[in-house]
């Protein structure tokens, strides 16, 4: 064995030992504990950083998730039940399944039903328009159709229908992250239960005007007549400020209210077509798949 080899071995081993010793003492002195499970949970999350969970980004959620005693209040809408299950496994817990939700647009005021009263000419943004005035139709509650909800959707799940001028949600792409709900200055979009096979019933209107005023500005507005409230066998419908609202936790999808609504403001989607009444379908363009 030549001296070169000997020196090599000596030198490197010495370096190795010194490094190890130094590292050991530094590590001792500057100890910080970080729960490694945070990284693991973060790796499981979808990484969309959409904020739909209510935390700033996926890492924030992961931290909260690991620290939380009770994880049932935490939910990643993008990842859904499967992701939550996996994340819970990291902690050795069970995640409660959450009913899948979907964004629902509660305005049916197409140009045909809701005449324009002026021509908006400002920046193409619902928020700009709504900070300026109540809108370019008689209904001061309805959708402005300028697409702020579309801009914020990270999942391409919402678009403005060219004919109706109203947003349409693609329920297969929508992750119920809620970004559009927050973006809409008119509070038109709501997260509702997706329903079995996508079947759901809701009031597609947010107009709080008195019946006559509402009817004058939009022919498919909820006029607050209360017929649906009386009809509903499950007490799922309430009426407040001239506007009916269906509680999706109570609604049993019996469709009785739909029939009695005089203005077709109540929508049923993804139900098989009814035999006699056909015109309902044309009034409900949302039935995108």
């Amino acid at each position: 064995m030549s001296s070169v080899v000997l020196y090599t071995v000596l030198m490197l081993s010495a370096l190795g030992v010194i490094s190890a010793v130094v590292l050991y003492f530094v590590a001792q002195k500057f100890k910080v504990y970080e729960d490694p499970r945070i990284d693991e949970v973060e790796a499981i999350l979808p990484g969309a950083n959409c904020g739909g969970c209510g935390y700033p980004g996926c890492r924030g959620f992961a931290e909260a998730f690991v620290k939380a005693d009770d994880i049932s209040t935490l939910f990643c809408p993008v990842g859904g039940n499967e992701t939550m299950g996996n994340a819970a496994k990291v902690l050795g817990k069970e995640a409660a399944a959450v009913d899948p939700m979907v964004a629902v647009v509660r305005c049916a005021g197409t140009p045909e039903h809701r005449a324009k009263t002026n021509a908006y000419d400002g920046a193409k943004s619902c928020r700009v328009a709504s900070s300026l005035y109540s809108g370019d139709t008689g209904c001061q509650f309805g959708c402005l159709g300028l697409g702020d909800c579309v801009d914020v959707c990270n999942f391409d799940a919402i678009y403005i229908d060219e004919v109706t001028g109203l947003p349409v949600v693609d329920q297969d792409k929508c992750t119920a992250c809620g970004a559009c709900v927050k973006a809409c200055p008119k509070f038109i979009i709501e997260l509702r239960k997706k329903g079995p096979k996508g079947k759901r019933i809701f009031v597609s209107c947010v107009n709080k005007d008195k019946g006559g005023v509402a009817k004058r500005s939009c022919s498919v507005a909820c006029i607050g007549c209360g017929k649906c409230v009386k009809t509903c066998p499950h007490d799922a419908i309430t009426l407040e400020n001239n506007l009916a609202y269906i509680d999706f936790n109570k609604c049993k999808l019996c469709r009785k209210c739909v029939e009695v609504c005089p203005t077709t403001a109540i929508w049923e989607v993804h139900f098989p077509a009814r035999k006699p009444k056909v015109e309902d379908e044309t009034a409900q363009p949302v039935s995108e798949n």
């Binding site: 070169v4 090599t8 490094s19 590292l23 530094v26 500057f30």
Partner: protein, 190 residues
């Protein structure tokens, strides 16, 4: 004069990133925000300077006398790795915010070619100790300078709508390319 030439050459003419291609990963990776890029520049300067001093000692007092110059790579990197890890551990404790900001790139300073590259270059050029130190600092400044400038541009690009397919790596590389193009103007100064 020696020193001035070393400094100008390292910062402008032979900029470590833009013309030597060392430390490109962090250059592309930690340049999203001016703030973080400054932190990274600081960290690199620190590590690079210390690393160059230590490797200088190692080379001239151990490897050369023992006639085992070929062990450069192994010995240098081991020292640098240990050094960086030390910095990392300390930083985590002392300034968690900076640690957060630098994220995965702190451990990656180890695998930042720039640090090892500069140490190797200093030895290869046979610079005396003081000049090695100046060389290391100048290169670190050159790195930081390119990094911060680049981060400035990228921050500005955040506010405009880059065509979809260009977003991310392609536009960063193109920008770096134009920057390198501009820096070629310094050719021949030293």
């Amino acid at each position: 004069m020696e020193y001035i030439i070393i400094v100008i050459s390292a910062i402008f003419v032979n900029n470590i990133v833009l013309s030597q291609f060392l430390g490109v990963c962090p250059f592309l990776g930690v340049s999203n925000k001016v703030q973080t890029s400054m932190g990274m520049a600081g960290a690199v300067t620190f590590v690079m300077t210390i690393a160059t001093i230590v490797t200088y000692m190692l080379q001239n007092f151990i490897l050369v006398p023992l006639g085992i110059g070929y062990m450069q790579t192994v010995a240098f990197i081991l020292v640098i790795a240990a050094l960086v890890q030390m910095v990392e551990i300390i930083l985590k404790k002392v300034s968690p915010s900076l640690y957060q900001a630098l994220g995965i790139f702190l451990p990656l300073i180890t695998t930042n070619c720039a640090v090892l590259g500069v140490a190797l270059l200093a030895v290869q050029k046979d610079l005396p100790l003081m000049q090695s130190v100046v060389f290391a600092i100048a290169n670190a400044i050159g790195f930081g300078f390119a990094l911060v400038t680049f981060a400035g541009i990228r921050e500005a690009l955040d506010l405009v709508d880059i065509p979809k397919p260009m977003r991310g790596a392609p536009i960063a590389l193109l920008t770096a390319g134009i920057l390198a193009l501009a820096f070629m103007g310094f050719a021949g100064i030293v």
